[in-house]
């Protein structure tokens, strides 16, 4: 959303128009939840998003448009989540969890670094064709749910929300190298899930 469209939209929000708030919620809630989830985990993510919405309404008249609406909302969400968070998240940052279909690990390579088990050629070559199979879609969703909180949030913010790596670093207060590690681990698990499904025809 840019320029005049955003100005108009902000006016509708300031006027307290319910339909405008509905659009706001529908457009940004999942990105906000991904930010909150990374910072406070699943148990408090919904509460943190609620806090954020209240802060958004309170701060709306003062929104200066020095950043995009999305960046502003996500920054408020990160702050709301940080206010709620108590445990030391640095400890869980790089913890990994097993994924239903594993990853692309060292066992895929021979000692000389060449593929030992080469990547299987998938049958489909568009996302639409891949996702047209209900079972594959569910299988992929299952893998996404199995990701540790930081991997999941970083993947969603990058792939689904299109945020720059730098923006993700700032929101979640983690280093660029950690964002890169988390994103890579998550992507390899998604890859392994799709490969497994394409190869065996089942989840």
């Amino acid at each position: 959303m840019t320029g005049t469209h955003e100005t108009e939209f902000l006016e509708r929000l300031l006027a307290g128009e319910q339909q405008a708030f509905k659009e706001l919620v529908d457009t940004y809630q999942s990105a906000m939840r991904a930010v909150a989830y990374a910072i406070v985990g699943s148990r408090q993510a919904d509460e943190a998003v609620q806090d954020a919405w209240l802060a958004v309404v309170r701060s709306l008249p003062g929104f200066q448009r020095r950043s995009s609406l999305k960046t502003w909302l996500l920054t408020i969400t990160a702050n709301a989540a940080k206010n709620r968070y108590k445990q030391n998240r640095r400890e869980v940052l790089l913890d990994d969890l097993p994924s239903p279909h594993g990853s692309i690990g060292d066992d895929r390579f021979a000692a000389d670094g060449h593929w030992r088990v080469a990547p299987f050629a998938w049958h489909e070559d568009t996302p639409e064709a891949l996702l047209s199979e209900d079972e594959l879609r569910q299988c992929l969703e299952h893998t996404l749910l199995s990701l540790p909180q930081f991997q999941s949030s970083v993947l969603i913010l990058r792939e689904r929300q299109g945020l720059e790596l730098e923006e993700i670093c700032n929101l979640l207060e983690i280093s660029l190298s950690n964002v890169r590690v988390l994103l890579h681990r998550a992507r390899l698990k998604v890859f392994a899930t799709l490969e497994h499904f394409e190869e065996t025809g089942q989840c």
Partner: protein, 79 residues
């Protein structure tokens, strides 16, 4: 020359444009000669696109939330 294992290890950085110029050249050179890694990268892109294309789960009670927020916004002005 990169090995396939090294290529895979830096594949996300390659896809995100996070490699240095030298790193990018090494990766391109490897991909030029390695069919398996070309397939891997192509399917990594497809996996990214699939994550992006997953349908969004609807926000539960979005209408109620929007109604509540709009009401709060209007109440603010009256204060």
């Amino acid at each position: 020359m990169l090995t396939c294992k090294e290529m895979v290890a830096r594949s996300s950085d390659y896809l995100d444009g996070e490699l240095t110029l030298g790193g990018r050249l090494l990766a391109r050179q490897h991909l030029l000669f390695c069919r398996n890694c070309r397939r891997f990268i192509k399917q990594m892109r497809l996996a990214q696109a699939a994550v992006r294309a997953l349908p969004e789960a609807p926000v539960p009670d979005a209408d109620a939330l929007a109604k509540d927020l709009a009401a709060q916004r209007r109440a603010q002005d009256k204060r």
